[in-house]
Amino acid sequence: MSEAKVFKPRFNPAKPAFGLLVFLLYLFLLAPLLIVFVVSFAANQYLSFPPEGFTLKWYGMLPQEGTFMEGMKVSLIVAVIVTLIVLALGVPAALALDRFEFKAKAAVQSFFLSPLLIPSIVLALGMVLLFGPLKLTNTYAGIVIGHVAITIPFVIRTTLMSLATTDTSCEAAARILGAGSWTVFRRVTLPIIQPGVIAGGVIAFIVSFDEAVISLFVAESGLPTLPVQVLRYVENSADAAVAALSVILILISLAVVVVVERVMGLRKALR
């Protein structure tokens, strides 16, 4: 060829259009958070928008608001216990689902994932009816059982995802080298599926901490969790202390995710 062809990048209108679309999507997702953030610093007397002046008094109110502190305590205790229990149940369940062939495997699998499909209000109603005679209403046990039920699908899903990509011959190799079943699990299987387990645990913690419907039905009067306290508070008063609390909660969730991401690589776990 006599003429060398020079490739000129042409203006591609799809590129900025795509950028705009992504921006709008993020805006859509984050707008409520942004508004809560702004309102939490606003001097308005009631929860409203736009802000009229800047104040930190809502944040100052939080430590004095006993119901929030009490609710926070209950929610944290519940979330920690739920996370531990759900990992102790979900990881072995996922292992069994992945490694063994048994009758009704599909049924068991759908059973474990079913809480995701059932509206939580239905679950909550059922639990109240069941827990009443068992004297479990208004107890930690009642809330924990409810939360374990709705968080176990997450742990099983993330663990199964990790298991699907692992090479079972690693476990066989460890057994041949002399490791018993428990040692194989602790030294080989668990470290390999760790990202999925941790991701499941983090999600379970956040979901439990955030859960309102079941907590409301099961333990509204005796053992209100933080979301329940927030609901009650908004019913009675309409100031922006709730917004300030929300910002704190968002920051806590964010901190958990960031720490786990830094330490373990959550992104890898969720892929």
Binding site: S169, A172, A173, A174, I176
Partner: protein, 375 residues
């Protein structure tokens, strides 16, 4: 007879009732220090056999005896074996040293001794300098060597290799073949080696068990299974072969000390030839095996005893050899000749085939074909 290191007695594995067994009453004796290849096509039961010896799978029936002790129901972690997997199966969350040390740790070997043995094992596979590396950073060949070091460092009762080379590229495979063999000979580790690659088996093994449909078709040294295949399957699976149905005529003399005889045989459509086979075959029908490279090809009728005249139907040139398919009557015979500088034979050329009687071997076990002819 010397005591075998490993005896497999009537070992059977049936995955489900009603299914054909994956391994069917398999018997095998392995001598101390030998490398035995389990060779066969996929689905022949070789991997199942290996996994049963390892303890990763329970046999349906039969027994496995190592050093005179029955281990059929010994749990896998108490068998003291070493295994190398096709996927290497290195622990991804441990570095090279930790991987190799794992078996020693399980045996509660003191730390200082662990260190020395790990170092020695890594030196043996020439990777002493990579101890602190993560396994992910290493090439396939290096990972394979780590896996070998990890299996050998515990001084296993048996070394089990499950297609260890099939994930490597062709060049590396040959290097690793030599290396595994030399390490195996140095350590005198009795080894079972599963492969579907006949070259690997011929090159590395002291004994080859050729498997088919859950059975051992033949167990013997590489030369035995190549030169004296017992069945059609063995002759066909190991190397290439021409098969001709032959009516065995009179015995014409003793061929060798192994008690084999020369025979006159008649092949329908080709004529009468000399062949060799085990004693007492006269008057029967058997399959005749001739390896392509033992078939002499000349492009002009030579002075020899009545060569077969045919026409070249296909020529394939691979650099160091020339494979030709020669049509003689209804038969198409595969032959191989060294390449020559100058004109290569072309399709349509006349070719003359001949062979020495000792290169035409009568398969002792009547194949399905012979049975059909006899009927």
């Amino acid at each position: 007879m010397t005591e075998s290191k490993l005896s497999i007695v009537d070992l059977t594995k049936r995955y489900a009732a009603g299914l054909e067994p994956a391994v069917d009453r398999l018997n095998m004796e392995v001598e101390e220090g030998h490398l035995v290849a389990l060779l066969g096509p996929s689905g022949c039961g070789k991997t199942t056999t290996l996994r049963m010896v390892a303890g990763l799978m329970d046999p349906t029936a039969g027994s496995i005896v190592v050093d005179g002790k029955e281990i059929t129901h010994t749990p896998v972690n108490k068998r003291g074996m070493g295994m190398v997997f096709q996927s290497y199966a290195l622990f991804p969350h441990m570095n090279v040293e930790q991987n190799v040390a794992f078996g020693l740790e399980m045996r509660q070997v003191p730390k200082a001794q662990q260190k020395a043995r790990v170092a020695a094992a890594l030196d043996m596979v020439q990777l002493g300098h990579l101890g602190k590396r993560q396994t992910k950073e290493l090439s396939g060949g290096q990972q394979q060597r780590i896996a070998l070091a990890r299996a050998l460092v515990v001084e296993p009762t048996l070394l089990l290799l499950d297609e260890p080379l099939s994930n490597l590229d062709a060049k590396l495979r040959e290097t690793m073949r030599t290396e595994i063999r030399s390490i195996q000979q140095r350590t005198r580790a009795t080894t079972l080696f599963v492969t579907h690659d006949q070259d690997e088996a011929l090159d590395m093994a002291d004994r080859i068990a050729v498997m088919n449909g859950g059975l051992i078709e033949q167990f013997g040294s590489p030369t035995e299974v190549y030169e004296r295949p017992r069945t059609h399957f063995v002759a066909n699976f190991i190397g290439q072969a021409n098969f001709l149905d032959a009516r065995v005529g009179a015995e014409t003399g003793r061929a060798n000390l192994a008690g084999e005889s020369y025979y006159r045989v008649e092949v329908e459509g080709l004529g009468q030839f000399g062949a060799v086979g085990s004693a007492g075959l006269a008057g029967t029908t058997h399959e005749l095996v001739i390896r392509p490279h033992r078939l002499g090809v000349s492009l002009a009728p030579g002075p020899g005893p009545a060569p077969l005249a045919g026409t070249i139907e296909r020529v394939s040139y691979t650099g160091d050899a020339l494979a030709v398919a020669v049509r003689v009557g209804e038969k198409l015979l595969q032959a191989q000749m060294p390449t020559i500088s100058g004109d290569l034979p072309r399709v349509g050329d006349a070719a003359y085939l001949s062979w020495a009687p000792e290169d035409a071997y009568l398969l002792p076990a009547p194949g399905a074909v012979a049975e059909r002819l006899a009927a």
